[in-house]
Amino acid sequence: MIHSSSTVELADDLAADYAPHKRSFWRALVASPSGLIGLVVVAVLILAALLAPVIAPYDPLRMAAGPRLQPPSLNHLMGTDDFGRDVISRIIYGARLTLQIGVIAVGISLTAGLLLGLVAGYSSGWTERILMRLVDVLFSFTEIVIALACLAIFGVGLTNAMIAIGIASIPFYARVTHSVVLVEKGKPYFEAAVAAGAGHMRLIFLHLLPNVVPTLIVIGTLGVSTAILAAAGLSFLGLGAQPPQPEWGFMLSSSRDLISRAPWMMIFPGLAIAITVLGFNLLGDGIREALDPRQKER
């Protein structure tokens, strides 16, 4: 169906495509307030994750780094927990886990959803009907139920939680991709490519994919925040991160019994989650605005 030479030339085609868009995209992203704020928040998060050993004042796992349950002070900016661990260090190291969760969970669901949606939308007929009905069935369960089912099969743990969340949100990405593909397939340029004699691979990867990707970047960015929240939820239930991992959701749940004595143990991880989720949401909005051609032409 597809010759090896055309696969090579396809790769060239794809590689050549993005360069001319880049500069104006970044400029537009920074020009929108939500894009700028989101970008800054996410950049800070990435920096914190990368430089954790340099920034964090203490080892996040070291017990009795200070007195137990100490309120925020100059020594411990966010106080210490019930094992005497430094909360700010744990939060900084927690950024690593949070980013992993976002990237891995969204990576899984985006890739699988994109492929499913592309194949279903492009093929039409029986393939489409069977695939999409399958997606509908999965859709009828809440994501968290599917994630719980996956965890019951794989076993408890943070890595498994990431995979479970990724699997649980595949139907969503498949649905979105499918609908975008249907819209793009109806546009004359697609018919023009068919009329020119283009093969399946060229139609899917050169004509459909680049026009689907912008939408998916936007919802993928928004999806990162959903994944982080879901992972925090699972960890809160004790199904995700296990002690002594400095995962924010898990930090929240372990502070539950001490809420009146040591509210800082709950406030700071909670804030970290909230700000991160907000950051990714703003970034997603910013990207959507920046990718909108109507914005560019002004």
């Binding site: 001319p20 340029y189 018919e191 023009a192 020119a196 004699g197 680049p210 026009n211 032409e297």
Partner: protein, 579 residues
């Protein structure tokens, strides 16, 4: 009606409108002035980007707030300056003293409200009529605009009416409050030519009955010639010329007006010539048969949950024709006639229920998927909308080169060179290759589509309304290019169009389609100069003539259901008519 002694009803002076602010400021209308006298039809004509719509929308405060700024100017009407009125005060005038009809009758009626409700709303609001008074007036108006079964129409929803009927409802709504000014923005552009003729007749009729002044915004010189008393020609936001319609058409002063009029295709201009005009020295003439089709039928069926439902719409029934190399066969017809379906079927972009399509002796319908793709080298397509038919994410160079890449005709340096030659061939520049589609104008984009189609040296090009989305001056250039390419390369064109004047200019033979069937087919002169089928005659009679001194004849009354739609019978050599 034109007289400078009467007090103008509306007087626009020094109107300047811009979009954006600061360094993004873009003046779209510059220092525009005109008067509108009572009972007069003033046509504002211009091509896209001329500011003709924007300047009129501004009068009613209908410009997008924030984006557009009315920078200066006055518009005195009834002793008030329309441009100074508050939103509240404007609302009192809109829909009452000044009303509007829009281009798209499909979208300018609210889909969820009954016709009667939409019709009476403004009357109750502005005239303070009671519900039953307004309903009576509504029924009266629907009768006036020529709708039947008025009682039922009042209770119907917009989707139950055809495009022409909806535009009649729009006109009824606009005229119901007996306005002083009717603003008509491209009122017939979206309509079929026979419906357009009826709507124009209706508007003229109502104008005399009500004494309304009309501001007619249009790009169509034929409509202008038919309707206008006076004409304002605009270009790039500036008034180029103004004058009574006769003098604009007969002694245009400005070069732009002259060029615009020269570019308008006129039905009958090529009536004496048997062949399209020659644009190269040694033109290729129609040769051997290239395409043969017969008995093509296609019914679109709605898909049920698992299997196709029975019934459906017959888009094409028993369509067949031949096409020779170097020849143009024009498929003409109105919307829903099946002409585009036919074009797509020939390229196997959709699968037929039955029929034969032979290209160069090969039966296209028997080819497998891979073979069809190979066969597509021989036949390419040019689409109507050059804005949508080019993938926005590929550069112009890659788009033009794509068919060559697909069919493995060239690569590397050779591909580059051939792409460059194609750009030059269609009148683009070599350094346009790196640009993206949105950086081109409509005409340039259609040149790109043509270059793309030419890249694989096809024998047949299906052109689906290739110039309908273009301004007339651009249309003339694109048609010229198509003629030149045909005559130097011996291309066969299947030219799908609704515009009889364009068809007359380019076609060797003409096939008239109606409701999925060919009702008349033959050499161009035979079909256009001596039409045998009643529907062909009606189509030709409905074409507006871009000449104010000639009035279009009255429309023949067609009994839609009694038109002969049967098998074709020969009335003259090669001239076949449905019996």
């Amino acid at each position: 009606m034109t007289s400078d002694t009467t007090e103008p009803l509306l007087s626009v002076k020094g109107l300047t409108i811009s979009f954006g602010r600061g360094r993004y400021r873009n003046v779209v209308v510059k220092d525009l002035s005109y008067d509108l006298h009572p009972g007069e039809t003033l046509a504002i004509v211009g091509e896209s980007g001329s500011g003709k719509s924007v300047s009129s929308m501004a009068l009613l405060g209908l410009l997008p707030p924030g984006a557009a700024n009315v920078e200066s100017g006055t518009a005195s009407f009834d002793g008030q300056d329309l441009l100074q009125l508050s939103d509240e005060e404007l609302r009192g005038i809109r829909g009452d003293r000044v009303t509007m009809i829009f281009q798209e009758p499909m979208t300018s009626l609210t889909p969820v409200l009954r016709i009667g409700q939409q019709l009476t709303e403004a009357l109750i609001e502005h005239k303070g009529m009671s519900g039953s008074e307004a309903a009576a007036r509504g029924r009266e108006m629907l009768t006036l605009v020529g709708l039947d079964k008025v009682e039922r129409r009042m209770r119907q929803f917009p989707h139950e009416l055809s495009g022409g009927m909806r535009q009649r409802v729009m006109i009824a709504m606009a005229m119901a409050s007996d306005p002083a000014i009717l603003l008509a923005d491209e009122p017939t552009t979206a309509l079929d030519v026979t419906v357009q003729a009826q709507i124009l007749d209706l508007m003229r009729d109502l104008k005399t009955k009500f004494g309304t002044s009309i501001i007619l915004i249009t790009h169509d010189m034929g409509v202008v010639a038919e309707m206008a008393d006076r004409v304002v020609v605009m270009r790039k936001g500036v008034k180029i010329e103004e004058g009574p319609v006769e003098s604009i058409f007969e002694v245009p002063q400005h070069d732009y007006t002259k060029a615009l009029l020269a570019a308008v295709p006129r039905l009958g201009a090529h009536a004496a010539a048997a062949q399209p005009r020659t644009v190269v020295d040694d033109p290729a003439r129609p040769g051997d048969r290239l395409l043969h089709t017969e008995g093509m039928s296609k019914t679109f069926r709605e898909r049920g949950l698992f299997v196709a439902k029975s019934g459906g719409t017959a888009a094409m029934q028993d369509v067949g024709f031949d096409l020779a190399t170097g020849e143009t066969l024009a498929l003409v017809g109105e919307s829903g006639s099946g002409k585009s379906t036919t074009g797509r079927a020939v390229l196997r972009l959709l699968d037929l229920d039955e029929g034969v399509i032979e290209i160069g002796g090969t039966d296209m319908r028997k080819l497998s998927g891979t073979a069809v793709r190979k066969a597509r080298r021989e036949m390419q397509m040019i689409f109507q909308d050059p804005f949508a038919s080019l993938n926005p994410r590929l550069s112009a160079g890659r788009l033009v080169a794509e068919p060559m890449v697909i069919h493995g005709l060239a690569s590397g340096k050779e591909l580059q060179d051939r792409t460059e030659q194609l750009f030059l061939r269609v009148g683009l520049e070599a350094d346009h290759m790196r640009r993206f589609p949105h950086e081109f104008s409509g005409g340039q984009r259609q040149r790109l589509s043509i270059a793309r189609a030419l890249s694989v040296n096809p024998k047949l090009i299906v052109a689906d309304e290739p110039t309908s989305a273009l301004d007339v001056s651009v249309q003339a250039q694109v048609l010229e290019l198509m003629l030149e390419l045909q005559q130097s390369l011996g291309l066969a064109y299947l030219f799908i169009s609704h515009d009889m004047a364009v068809v007359e200019e380019v076609a060797h033979r003409v096939a008239v389609m109606r409701r999925g069937r060919i009702v008349e087919i033959g050499p161009r002169q035979a079909v256009l100069n001596d039409p045998h089928h009643a529907y062909t005659r009606a189509l030709l009679a409905a074409v507006p003539v871009p000449d104010p001194t000639r009035t279009r004849g009255t429309l023949p009354v067609l009994d839609i259901d009694q038109l002969p739609m049967g098998p074709l019978a020969e009335v003259a050599p090669q001239h076949m008519v449905a019996s």
